[in-house]
Symmetry: C2
Subunit: 347 residues, 2 copies
């Protein structure tokens, strides 16, 4: 099977390299890897953050392993040429609408969370974030007001089909877990959220075994600190999901630990750590590769039908942590490669 490896910017190349080493060890020659530039790196090499050859590779591959994009050098480029457009473009072009972001605290890392151990250890949730709509993809631009002042605008919207398909993802994810789904919106202010809530309620009729609740996003951000253990599955839109999943990941210890899967309707997926390109520590061997290694495990499970191999990787990560493997974000001093070595040794 063909894996597209898109390392991207900053610490992206360092962390994807470790995940590839792990996949090679676990899957041997069942997997073929092909790399292509993406993000700021691609822009610098060829003038576009998502070159046609990269998009083509991503389309042909059975699954995509993605590092991170984002490069301060590119912040003043016109929006269409910025690194972020690469990941947004991949999500849209490949119709990867369902972003699964599991958050749980590895017991070995109870000390790494800013939350009290008894609060943090109760975290075991999946955030299901919609990735193809919302204010991310609506019409946007700069215009002038009637009095000639500059104005930036972005249209937020969801239609019922977009909400329905992610709602199904949310309900099915809940069915496979503890059967609780919390839909997060801001229906007391936004019409987009009102439609979201209406459609989620309609779809819920098909899932009588799932207990559905609704929460406003401001309250959800509060509850994720107060008592994150109350959540099983959260389903939410692109923007709220962006914010809440980063917050949840930090509640569960370090953002350097959490993987994600972005899936299309057929199960094809792009797998990436939740963290960004971290330009401040790029190239220094300080990055924690475990989020990417765990993303590789999700890839085996969701897109490649290798659940057993996925389990082996997850167990190896836990074993490495139990053995004391700690990168800087976890309060240790191990390099990116040493963290990868620790996982390989546990395998």
């Amino acid at each position: 099977m063909l894996i597209a490896v898109l390392p991207g910017d900053g610490i992206g190349p360092e962390v994807t390299a470790e995940a590839v080493r792990v996949l090679e060890m676990v899957c041997g020659d069942r997997l073929t890897f092909k790399s292509a530039p993406v993000g700021g790196a691609a822009y610098k090499a060829s003038g576009h953050p998502l070159p046609p050859a990269t998009l083509d590779l991503a389309k042909r591959a059975d699954a995509i392993l993605f590092g991170a994009v984002g490069d301060p050098d590119c912040d003043s480029l016109e929006r269409a040429l910025r690194p972020e457009q690469a990941i947004l473009g991949l999500r849209k072009e490949l119709a990867l609408f369902a972003n699964l972001r599991p958050a749980r605290l590895f017991p070995e890392l109870a000390d790494a969370s800013a939350l009290r151990p008894e609060v943090a250890s109760a975290i075991d949730m999946v955030i299901v974030r919609e990735l193809n709509g919302d204010v991310y993809f609506g019409e946007k631009g700069m215009r002038k007001t009637a009095s000639g002042r500059r104005e930036g605008y972005d249209i937020m919207s969801y239609n019922e089909d977009e909400v329905a398909r992610i709602a199904h993802s949310g309900f099915r994810t809940a069915q496979a877990r503890r059967g609780k789904l919390c839909s997060v919106d801001k229906a007391n202010v936004l019409e987009t959220s009102q439609l979201w809530r209406d459609v989620v309620i309609e779809i819920s009729a098909e899932y009588p075994d799932v207990e559905l609740s609704h929460m406003y996003v401001d309250n959800a951000a509060m509850q994720l600190v107060r008592n994150p253990g109350q959540f099983d599955v959260i389903v939410t839109g692109n923007l709220f999901g962006d914010i809440l999943s980063d917050q949840a990941s930090m509640c569960a210890g370090s953002i350097g630990m959490l993987p994600s899967a972005s899936l299309d309707a057929g199960g094809k997926g792009l797998y990436e750590p939740i963290h960004g390109s971290a330009p401040d520590i790029a190239g220094q061997g300080k990055a924690n590769p475990l989020a990417t290694i765990l993303s590789a495990a999700m890839m085996l499970r969701y897109s490649l039908g290798m659940a057993e191999e996925a389990n082996r990787i997850e167990v190896a990560v836990a074993t490495a942590l139990a053995g004391g493997a700690r990168s800087a974000d976890l309060g240790g001093a191990m390099t990116t490669t040493q963290m990868g070595d620790a996982v390989l040794a546990a395998l």
Copy 2:
């Protein structure tokens, strides 16, 4: 001076009653109080969440003490008649564009935060949230897509004048504190945020003594958990401010503790607790009135020129807490009135 008291829904009447008792004790007959219905209560009494007489009183008053709005009975009303429209209407009609939300942990409550004590005790920040623009007030509605599907939409926008005036509030707030301002946006995706960032940078030239930084909202939600002590003043838009300030308040212990001020350009203001109407505990005497009492103190300081009296109230709240006053949200069993009594006793 005339204070408009707008108790609103749920626990609103209970908590504002305690704040009025405290103000009467501290200010004697310098203040006159006049109440009016607002929110779901006003809708039920007279068919509109913000009746003309209530708006008129708010306009005439020197300051407004507000409880909370929100009532599940009203969730299926058309949007214009829902309780939330009352607070949104007041903010807009009175041009209360600057919402100051201080968050800090009362040392007496170190045990109440879900964060580790050493993380929580470092919290001492003010979130300056814009209140008159953003996706809250843009055109919004339900429409049909080309293929006849329901679609909800809301237009997010800011123009340069709106950003400039809240940026000034942010810089001036930072000048009066530790001189650090962090502007939070999502400029890597949103044009509204790009304009926001551009204008904040332009305005920063007038405040060379303030150290300005920028952070994406997803990262900010993460940093508020990881290391909230890093923030002095955060300035952000209406939607991101809604989410981040609730999150920050919970990091600082209980949402039952945090006050807010919503100010116009001349210093007139509406003062309300950050928490909502909490219909689940309404009428049971369980609500913590301290956020509203602290909002009353902010009112004395920002709108009525009574800084000394404001200090007295704040000291009395700390004294009450040190003396063991604890409502349910703080792990205790004292009623709303008993909490008010404890503050009065400390005065």
